[in-house]
């Protein structure tokens, strides 16, 4: 078993060098402006390297999906995009993450302001259970000191409508966020992330704990949201990645094996490893 893994690794390191070339050509052909970009991004937990030297563009008004087997570093990569690793004791990040050309890891940049610009939705729905639905949605606004009731109401309605939840909860905005069903809670988490009007939206397996109906609602939602945002979504569900994304990055053992337009990658993957994963030969 161990020797098998080692063999895989050797193959992969071989592949990833070509891969950077693929990467750059794609970036230059992109019809949409690049909103975010990573350059030689590395993330280490202690001495273990989880994300290795990844350069990847995130296009505006497009959905970028990150796929790959468990433990391949996609979530770690995603969390590096809004500096969530600052909070993990032994994680260290090197390389650059550019938002509109500015490196967010520049020591002068305050991570708090970065997280206000780059919203995040997590795998598990995370409403604040003691807060009302209304207060959950506007929690981010209250943090920046907005107290104007009319404005908060307006933003709350807009965010809930965007998250396709408004009609279901409009009569009980004051009941606690924890009283909603799982799917509703996840849409509430999305509404909360949208309320602060981020520039980029990161989603970490947003449907993995939901039933198929709620999942499809959230997929529709992603389609709607990409008109206004750059979206990066991590998913284990290959069909989902195919349905919602315009670009796909395939991760394996911490490296980016292939990045390109989803359609092209799904019909004609450039690398054998990608093809094997997409056809279910491993992973």
């Amino acid at each position: 078993m161990e020797t098998m893994l080692k063999n895989k690794k050797i193959q992969v390191t071989g592949l990833s060098k070509e891969n950077e070339v693929v990467n750059i050509t794609n970036r230059e052909n992109g019809a949409y402006p690049v909103r975010m970009e990573t350059r030689n991004l590395n993330v280490k937990y202690g001495k273990v390297s989880a994300v290795k030297n990844i350069s990847l563009p995130v296009y505006n008004e497009r959905v970028t999906a990150l796929i790959g087997p468990s433990g391949c570093g996609k979530t770690t990569f995603l969390r590096a995009l809004n500096r969530m690793h600052d909070l993990t004791r032994n994680a260290s990040v090197t390389g650059e993450v550019l938002l509109d050309g500015n490196n967010i890891y520049n020591p002068k940049v305050n991570p708090v302001t970065i997280r206000r610009k780059i919203g995040m939705v997590f795998q598990k729905p995370t409403p604040f259970p003691t807060m009302s639905i209304f207060n959950n949605v506007v929690a981010g606004l209250k943090l920046v000191g907005i107290r104007n009731k009319a404005l908060l109401n307006e933003v709350c309605e807009k965010a809930l409508t965007q998250a396709a939840l408004f009609d279901e909860v409009k009569d009980r905005l004051n009941s606690p966020g924890g009283s909603l069903s799982g799917g509703q809670q996840q849409r509430l988490s999305i509404a909360r992330a949208l309320a602060i009007e981020p520039e980029v939206l990161l989603m970490d397996e947003p449907t993995s704990s939901l039933d198929p109906q709620s999942s499809s609602k959230i997929e529709d939602l992603i389609h709607e949201l990409k008109k206004n945002y750059a979206i990066v979504i991590v998913t284990h569900n290959l069909q989902q990645a195919g349905r919602v994304s315009d670009y796909t990055g395939f991760f394996f053992l911490g490296e980016l094996i292939e990045f390109g337009e989803t359609e092209k990658m799904y019909t004609n993957p450039a690398h054998k490893r990608t093809e094997e994963y997409l056809t279910g030969k491993f992973g």
Binding site: L87, G119, F122, L143
Partner: protein, 330 residues
């Protein structure tokens, strides 16, 4: 491969001794039931014995009469009323909790959220150390160090200042000899800080990582994360911890008895001597010769038992009412 299957089958088919099936189950079940029920029996019999022993006093003064009586005179009139001690217990405990709660919560938050792990561990161990000091040792320290220091540096200056400017305050302030209600309250606060701290820290550690991250991802600063995600989620545990500490303060005997000055009758003053239910029991038990006196002490024990029970039930109720499981408000 086949051999392995055979082996497994052999193990499965092997007859199991009766001790592992029917009999073993029964023995374990009955032991568990007996031990479990004995706890109920033990506490009920304790309450019953205390009430029985105290019934002479309850009969003499009436149940409510005993609770409301303000005179405690075991020497001449043989009148026993528990109100001074109930009052003394409640006031010292509430005041100690009020003093201890916010510092203890702050220490708990610091250990759990802010401190680097090594510093948090050191503080945590020191806090545990305070909890482990026998209360009689704290009492001795109080008598020889704390009370004289407080008398010189705090009580006397305050008393002199009041005597000069507001003489009408003097009866409220009381005798500044150092052994009295204020000293007992401060020592009690010191003694319950470790409990509140430990329980606050436990409650905060149980807040799921996801809740914190959700707040971080909204662009919250460290304090905002604590205020928005951590404290609301941990509120049940924190409050229950405070009430359990209050329960400890109510029952705390030795250090309080050594520092409170032990004055049995109303009115109490802030700095002057007073008494609590545990302190009067421990001070008078050996000298209680009259059966009515002894019975009255037992009756106070019964009241203390009931109050502690209520406080514990209240803590359990609050924990259940405010605790949050799986993102749902129960």
């Amino acid at each position: 491969m086949k051999k392995k299957e055979e082996q497994i089958n052999n193990v499965l088919k092997k007859p199991v001794g009766i001790i592992y099936r029917w009999l073993g189950d029964r023995i374990f079940l009955s032991a568990a039931v007996i031990l479990g029920l004995s706890i109920i029996f033990l506490s009920l019999s304790m309450a019953w014995v205390l009430y029985g022993e105290g019934s002479l006093s309850f009969g003499e003064f009436g149940f409510w009469g005993f609770l409301r009586g303000t005179t405690w005179d075991p020497g001449i009139q043989l009148i026993f009323g528990a109100l001074p001690f109930i009052f003394g217990t409640i006031v010292t405990s509430v005041a100690a909790l009020l003093i201890a709660f916010f510092p203890a919560m702050a220490i708990g938050i610091f250990i759990a959220e802010y401190a680097p792990r090594w510093l948090g561990n050191i503080i945590e161990n020191l806090v545990h150390l305070i909890a482990a000091i026998p209360s009689v040792v704290i009492g001795i320290w109080g008598i020889f160090v704390f009370a004289p220091w407080m008398r010189e540096k705090v009580y006397l200056p305050v008393f002199n200042w009041a005597a000069e400017h507001y003489p009408s305050l003097l009866p409220v302030l009381g005798n500044p000899m150092g052994y009295g209600m204020a000293s007992a309250i401060i020592i009690l606060a010191l003694m319950i800080i470790p409990y509140t701290t430990a329980l606050t820290r436990d409650a905060i550690r149980q807040v799921p990582k996801e809740q914190r991250e959700a707040a971080w991802a909204l662009g919250a600063t460290r304090w905002e994360v604590i205020r928005m995600a951590v404290i609301p989620y941990a509120r049940g545990g924190i409050l229950a911890g405070a009430i359990l500490s209050f329960g400890r303060a109510i029952g705390e005997t030795m250090a309080v008895a050594m520092l409170i000055g032990n004055k049995n009758n109303f009115p109490f003053s802030i700095m002057g001597p007073a008494a609590t239910m545990p302190s009067v029991i421990i001070n008078e038990f050996r000298e209680a010769v009259g059966s009515l006196h002894l019975s009255s002490l037992m009756a106070i024990g019964f009241v203390l038992f009931v109050i502690s029970l209520i406080v514990n039930l209240l803590a359990a109720y609050i924990t259940r009412k405010l605790s949050i499981s799986g993102g749902q408000v129960a």
